[in-house]
């Protein structure tokens, strides 16, 4: 079985009450949710991040799935010191934007001709990927995938395969939003969650090796896995828990009866 490998040169993270990777690591270490000054609390622990990449008028109306995806993607690039314009990217989301799906279906059932053109073009699964490349003037390839509850693992496989095919570095972002309306009776996805990695052939950061195998991934038991267990992207959290505590392995669900086995080697001094 062929192994895929990369250096993790940057990490981005956003969950409700954990608005950064730094906050997430502190939470894992101390159990404390972000507690900063009142002004920062309002901004950083809000229900959704404010995507700095978008012009102010688009920030507010951007779907929350796009907001969280852009937030973690940019944070990972900043952490890696990587230029977003240079990076090919992989955006992985279980459902895309559940609020827009609810809007589209409800509008179509009532008055189809009233459908908003902006909501329609924001409804594509690659909305975050599109806004990311537009906001960064990035002409590199980007893709948007879903593999249901294995979306992050398969996104990681695709990103690592791009490195294997010659890319110097690839951005991977996984994210999901909260279910609203009648669809929420089927999908119990709560809150907003995003995690992003800059994966590179070379550079400072943990060394990641991964291979697909038969097996079942146990639900995550780490602090982040428990904190954001209700979000559809929670299956990615065992990797972020492992990165936070410098654990040597993580196992991600990679489809029915399949897992992605990940080995992590910490190298040099922690940079974060």
């Amino acid at each position: 079985m062929s192994r895929l490998c990369a250096q993790i040169t940057g990490i981005g993270f956003w969950a409700n009450a954990l608005p950064s990777w730094q906050a997430a690591r502190a939470f894992v270490a101390t159990g404390a949710l972000t507690s900063v000054t009142a002004a920062e609390t309002a901004a950083e622990t809000a229900a959704r991040p404010q995507p700095r990449l978008l012009p102010p008028n688009e920030r507010r109306r951007a779907p929350e799935s796009v907001a969280v995806a852009l937030e973690v993607a940019l944070a990972a690039c900043n952490d890696a010191g990587a230029d977003p314009a240079q990076l090919p990217s992989v955006f992985a989301s279980t459902h895309g934007d559940l609020a827009i799906t609810d809007y589209m279906c409800a509008t179509l059932a009532q008055d189809p001709a009233a459908l908003s053109p902006i909501r329609f073009h924001n409804s594509v699964h690659n909305a975050a990927a599109g806004y990311w490349t537009i906001g960064n003037a990035c002409t590199a390839a980007t893709t948007a995938i879903s593999a249901f509850d294995a979306s992050f693992a398969l996104g990681l496989v695709e990103a690592l395969s791009q490195l294997d095919a010659g890319a110097d570095a690839v951005l991977l972002a996984g994210y999901d939003s909260s279910a609203t309306g009648p669809a929420a009776t089927l999908w119990a996805s709560h809150g907003l969650l995003g995690g992003a990695l800059v994966l590179a052939r070379a550079g400072a950061g943990p060394r990641l090796e991964a291979h697909l195998a038969d097996g079942e991934a146990a639900p995550g038991t780490g602090a982040l896995s428990i904190h954001a267990a209700g979000n559809a992207m929670a299956p990615m959290l065992p990797l972020f828990d492992a990165l936070a505590v410098h654990a040597p392995t993580a196992i991600l669900h990679a489809g029915p009866g399949r897992v992605l086995r990940i080995g992590l080697t910490m190298q040099g001094q922690p940079t974060r």
């Binding site: 179509l108 001709a113 990035c138």
Partner: protein, 440 residues
């Protein structure tokens, strides 16, 4: 890389793509190992399977019809447009073992998968390599959201006064994008890496690129790729809201074009290492190869193409570099050619700037309609048919050339034996993909 290939790669490095300020353009990629196309198929408004596509292309018979699909507006009428609808889906229930996946989109997937022995050949590859060594990569734009739309028209109030889906629609897997990927995985029994690619109208072109990488990186020995998209209210009224739907059959690259005709389709291809295909021939031998792919972003606008065709040019450049050939070696180009005013004029200029006048390029959306997330696979199948049968399709429905059209853009069918052919697909978000196929 051969000396010839290297020289070609060097020439391609200076392919004149438009420059974008403040934007770094990556170097061209190296030549890739080609992959064998083990089998391929499509089911569209033209009919079921390869032969139906070929016959309609040869006869110049369009699959477009007056719209009789989708939710009615407040006037009680369906959207006044033309569509490429697949006949018989209403009668084509899924087998009982797959009933959890029941919906129009997965019905079309099953109908397409069971043509031309593709399902049989996919399982054979699974038996030969191990089912965990065959990847499943499927493109779509809206997957089975048509089922979710239907559920919203029949909502029920439960005891706690909460609106819920009707009982027959409480099958969560059909209300999420990976419905299609998971269905194809379940239908074939393949257990290799499985994902749904959803980059709007480039989705099922990108599946070839992603499968090629999975095979190259050793994550799979072969791959079932494809794309399935069915008509639904979201796309009919969504494109209508953007003013992009024509009330008449679409006329790609025609001066009088005024928008697209939406269609639905499913298609699949089986990819395998070319060296392995030679060692283990099957009763079907197409001698067809995937030779190159290129992917890029416009970095311009969510729903409008880059005015200079920047992303399209970059995708074409990278596909040529991976195939190790020059623009002059492309014998047929299947264009994106949606028949929207902005897409076609920009695409015509890009083609004129990149390719010699001798190229035969066309849009086949006058036959099938714009099948969105299935356009990549449908038009790859047409491109493969062009290579296999020496039939270069024209542009059905168009007769007055858009002034920007170069001599490359042809309205009439032609016959010519060709060695290499390209298919380009562009999607919302400025997501572009170009593929090169060739004869072995």
């Amino acid at each position: 890389m051969s000396v010839v290939g290297l020289a070609a790669a060097l020439r391609l490095a200076i392919l004149p793509c438009p420059h974008r300020e403040n934007s770094a353009i990556a170097a061209t990629p190296p030549v890739m190992m080609p992959l064998a196309i083990r089998n391929y198929t499509a089911t569209t408004a033209l009919g079921r399977g390869r032969q139906a596509q070929l016959a309609a292309l040869e006869q110049g018979r369009s699959g477009l019809q007056r719209n009789d699909f989708g939710p009615s507006g407040t006037d009680g009428q369906v959207l006044p447009t033309w569509i490429g609808r697949v006949e018989g889906l209403e009668q084509a229930a899924l087998p009982n073992a797959l009933s959890e996946y029941e919906c129009r989109n997965n019905r079309l997937a099953w109908l397409a998968l069971t043509q031309d022995d593709v399902l049989h050949d996919a399982r054979s590859l699974g038996a030969r390599y191990g089912s965990d060594r065959v990847a499943v990569v499927i493109g779509t734009s809206t997957s089975s959201i048509g089922a979710t739309e239907e559920a919203y028209t029949r909502l029920e109030r439960d005891d706690s006064d909460t609106l819920r889906f009707p009982a027959d629609m409480r099958r969560p897997i059909v209300h999420t994008p990976h419905s299609i990927g998971r269905f194809v995985q379940a239908a074939t029994g393949l257990r290799g890496p499985c994902m749904t690619v959803a980059t709007a109208c480039s989705s099922s072109a990108k599946v070839f690129a992603q499968a090629a990488r999975l095979i190259a990186s050793g994550q799979a020995d072969a791959a079932l790729v494809g794309g399935v998209d069915t008509l639904c209210g979201s796309v009919l009224y969504g494109f209508h809201s953007l003013g992009l739907v024509s009330a008449a059959p679409c006329r790609p690259f025609d001066a009088r074009r005024d928008g697209l005709s939406l269609g639905e389709a499913g298609g699949f291809a089986l990819l395998e290492r070319a060296d392995a295909a030679v060692q283990a021939p099957t009763h079907r031998s197409f001698d067809l190869l995937l030779q190159g792919y290129g992917e890029s972003s416009d970095a311009h606008h969510m729903s409008a193409p880059h005015p200079d065709g920047l992303g399209a040019c970059l995708a074409i450049r990278d596909a040529l570099a991976r195939a190790g050939i020059t623009p002059a070696e492309i014998g047929y180009l299947n264009l994106h050619g949606t028949a929207t005013p902005s897409n076609d004029v920009i695409e015509a200029r890009t083609v004129a700037s990149v390719f010699p006048d001798t190229l035969h390029a066309s849009s086949t959306k006058g036959w099938t309609g714009h099948t969105l997330g299935a356009a990549g696979i449908v038009e790859s199948v047409i491109t493969l048919l062009a290579l296999e049968h020496a039939l270069l399709p024209g542009t059905l429905g168009s007769d007055t050339p858009e002034p920007a059209n170069g001599p490359q853009i042809r309205f009439s069918n032609a016959r010519a034996q060709i060695q290499h052919a390209m298919n380009t697909s562009f999607g919302f978000g400025g997501n572009n993909c170009a593929l090169i196929f060739g004869r072995a």
